[in-house]
């Protein structure tokens, strides 16, 4: 239910993927840009392979700390099927930034009852206008560290939020260990070069 100059962001992934760190960074940037911000998530089971989601709401004044179905301006997914699962949280004209990562849980491999969807990203594209698929694992490997996936996806997101790149860089400098700062700034920049292209739409 975000109004003008407001942004509702939903970040989803699987325990251990760094969902909470990403939402922390976005909130930091928003606060330093002078906006009101609230973020909400449920802790507890996050370390045990379950779904983790974090809501970030930015605006002149924010009341509810949680987003509603159909209201997210941006959906950021660290895993394909989780992106598809959360798609109905997004506005029809929202932007989905999805890592092509696939994590198949043992409940799928150990039973015939459940299946991993055939091509989650294709299904997302059928239902939403703006879906950006990012092979973040591959880019992270090219940059030399698999843990850069969330920074790469954040880099993509910088294109869709009204904050100067300097604020993002500052947030990274504050939050990341000294020796990882440079590589994270590079990852942010790599992500920032990925935008919705005609091919993607």
């Amino acid at each position: 239910m975000a109004g003008e100059n407001s942004y509702d962001i939903l970040i989803v992934g699987v325990g251990g993927q760094g969902v909470l760190l990403a939402s922390e960074l976005i909130s930091d940037v928003a606060m330093n840009a002078g906006m009101d911000v609230k973020k909400s998530e449920v802790h507890g089971m996050s370390q045990r392979g379950g779904i983790v989601s974090s809501h970030v709401r930015i605006g002149p004044v924010v009341y509810s700390p949680t987003i509603e179905h159909g209201q997210a301006d941006i959906l950021m997914a660290f895993e394909q099927a989780e992106g598809l699962r959360a798609l109905d949280w997004m506005k029809k004209d929202g932007v989905a930034i999805v890592s092509t990562t696939r994590l198949v849980p043992s409940i799928v491999t150990s039973s015939k009852e459940f299946n991993y969807p055939h091509d989650p990203i294709a299904t997302m594209r059928k239902n939403a206008e703006h879906v950006i698929a990012v092979d973040a694992d591959k880019i992270a490997m090219e940059l030399g560290n698999p843990r850069l996936v969330n920074t790469i996806l954040l880099g993509v997101m910088t294109n869709y939020l009204p904050f100067e790149i300097g604020l993002w860089q500052d947030a990274i400098k504050r939050r990341v260990k000294e020796r990882f700062i440079d590589i994270n700034l590079k990852a942010l920049d790599r992500g920032r070069q990925i935008k919705l292209s005609k091919v993607e739409v």
Binding site: K38, R48, D88, V104, S106, I107, V108, T109, S110, A128
Partner: protein, 595 residues
């Protein structure tokens, strides 16, 4: 100074600003980070984990009587454990200020029930504060100490998951010393023998009258006038949801909600054409307002179960006829998705016991901790889970009535055993029970994030501590059959459990492999699958290890063979032990075909 703080961090900050001398609690989602924040960031406040909430509450009372402001924290069900001191503490009142935080969990994100602890405040007749965001959480904690000292009463501050775990911008306040108080002997106030307690109960009744007057005037209860005909009475997180839906309605926001400001409520009702109550869980305001003779509604439209949300509030307001339209999601919900339940980690030392228990088909009384995940598919090895410490008592009862022919086992974690399992074990020995108790000792309170407890050798603030020796403790209680088992040795686990359930005496089986995540991440040499030998029987899939995934290769029935994600495998070897074709091998021993 402004900082982005969670509700829990804000409570810690508030306690620091109020000059609290003692912060004490027992971990429990969503309350845990309050004490962790104090121990990490505000180290001038002495903070500690106690073995359970009752002890924590009693330590807090002691600090307050001794002259230092006290903060006691717990999750909602923790207050059940601490209810005994809590109820009588209302009678004695305080010396230095005393605040108890109850962090409730509507929707049961990580709890076994969703009780509404506001009712506890009314039960004990102590004042209740309900912050709706992080700023209020900090400010109300500071105010709570003033109320506590002015009215000589413990004060309850009630958080809910969305307040505890949401972050918002907080303007920090000044750090103060707190009052300079000393212990003063006063048995008529603090020694609750019947003759004294009768007098104190009268004090409680009188205090309630004073608190009612305070509730009318305190700025914690605000009327927000926007010139609307519709008035909404609300408090806590429900206020934020209602504002999201109807920012321009009139509001009576209850920050101080027990005792209720009934005159203020009466005026608010009288000055609005329509009034509705929006609150999460129980009809706490509603029942009291109705009992005072007013015709208002609330639960009829919003329900008494689960979390509210802006949409749920909007739907209720629509049903009540106050709004016409609700924005709907336009993208359809994706049907038929697989679930992704939380699972035991790769290498979790709890896994082997559940593999064995499943195989034996015994009745398993469970308890609360990571090991409660043993109930999930495909392990399916737990039969009960009621509350912390319940497993041993449950097992004793089941066994006495011979409920299971195959035997009865209790499983309990180390932190839970020390919290409230020890008394159950006394009962087993004392009353000649034949139960078999498995203490799954991973040397951490893992479920809530790896907190210290009296057998880990460290305190919350990081000092060394005596480690309770669980074997000696059990033996001192009179346990004769005590067996130590390696949690990574499946055969040993299976035969030991079998032997002990056949015995006509209580036994304890103790496992002591540490948690693989905390305090140190354990990563031994990983195992790999030899696809030549794997026949796709899926035995290893059924132990529910996240490191074992489906390979692209299939067997003759089209079933996938197994593959191990070496970045996740910790080398616990359990899968290798149960593989019928010995296809799972240490990575260094594996020689691929053609090399």
């Amino acid at each position: 100074m402004r900082e982005l703080l969670s509700g829990n961090e804000a409570v810690a900050r508030g306690a620091y600003e109020a000059g609290v001398k003692m912060a004490v609690g027992y971990p429990g989602t969503p309350s845990t980070e309050i004490l962790e924040t104090l121990a990490m960031r505000y180290r001038s406040v002495y903070s500690q984990w106690s073995p359970n909430e009752k002890v924590a509450y009693e330590v807090g009372i002691g600090a307050s009587i001794g002259g230092g402001r006290a903060l006691v924290t717990m999750k909602h069900v923790g207050l059940n454990v601490a209810a005994d001191p809590f109820m009588t503490h209302a009678y004695t009142g305080v010396n230095a200020g005393f605040v108890v935080i109850t962090a409730d969990d509507p929707e049961m994100h990580s709890s076994q029930n969703e009780q509404d602890n506001r009712i506890f405040a009314r039960f004990a007749q102590v004042p209740l504060l309900e912050p709706s965001n992080s700023q209020e959480a900090k400010d109300m904690v500071v105010t709570a100490y003033e109320i506590s000292e002015i009215f000589d009463t413990p004060v309850m501050v009630r958080l809910t998951t969305r307040v505890s775990h949401s972050k918002g911008i907080v303007t920090l306040g000044e750090v103060t010393e707190g009052p300079d108080k000393k212990f003063i002997k006063d048995p008529a106030k603090y020694v609750m023998i019947p003759s004294n307690a009768r007098g104190r109960h009268a004090v409680v009744r009188g205090r309630l009258q004073l608190l009612k007057r305070f509730a009318e005037d305190t700025p914690l209860n605000i009327v927000e006038c926007n010139g609307s005909k519709l008035g909404i009475i609300t408090g806590g997180i429900s206020y934020q949801y209602a504002k999201e839906v109807l920012p321009d309605a009139d509001y009576l926001k209850l920050g101080f909600s027990y005792p209720l400001p009934m005159k203020k409520i009466a005026d608010f009702i009288a000055s609005h054409e329509q009034v509705i109550v929006v609150e999460e869980l129980e009809p706490f305001y509603e029942d009291q307002i109705k009992a005072a003779g007013f015709h208002i509604e609330g639960k009829k439209y919003f329900g008494a179960q689960g979390e509210l949300s802006p949409i749920r509030v909007a739907e209720g307001l629509k049903e009540a006829g106050f709004i016409d339209e609700i924005p709907l999601a336009l993208i359809p919900h994706q049907e038929g998705m697989f679930p992704r339940p939380p699972v035991l980690c790769p290498g979790c030392p709890h896994r082997g016991a559940f593999m064995a228990l499943k195989k034996l088909g015994v009745a398993v009384a469970g308890d609360i901790g990571c090991y409660t995940l043993g109930v999930m598919q495909p392990l399916n090895a737990l039969d009960t889970c009621i509350c912390m410490g319940a497993s041993i008592g449950n097992a004793i009862g089941m066994e006495k009535v011979k409920g299971s022919k195959k035997g009865t086992v209790a499983v309990i974690g180390d932190s839970t055993f020390l919290h409230s399992g020890v008394t159950g074990l006394m009962d087993a020995v004392y009353n000649h029970s034949n139960v078999t108790i498995i203490i799954l000792d991973n040397r951490a309170t893992a479920m809530t994030g790896g907190q210290q407890h009296p057998a880990t050798g460290k305190t919350l603030m990081g000092d060394d501590a005596h480690e309770i020796d669980i074997p000696s403790l059990c033996k001192a209680l009179g346990v004769k059959n005590y067996r130590e088992v390696d949690a990574y040795d499946y055969e040993q686990m299976l035969t030991t459990i079998k032997e002990e359930i056949e015995r006509e005496e209580p036994s304890v089986i103790h496992t002591s492999r540490p948690c693989v995540l905390m305090p140190k991440r354990i990563m031994d040499e990983p195992y790999v699958v030899d696809l030549e030998l794997c026949n796709g029987c899926s035995a290893c899939f059924r132990i529910a290890c996240p490191a074992i995934v489906a390979s692209k290769e299939t067997n003759e029935h089209g079933r996938p063979k197994a593959e191990i994600d070496v970045t996740l495998c910790t080398g616990c070897s359990l899968c290798a032990q149960i593989c019928p074709t010995e296809a799972i091998i240490l990575q260094s021993k594996f020689v691929p075909e053609g090399v």
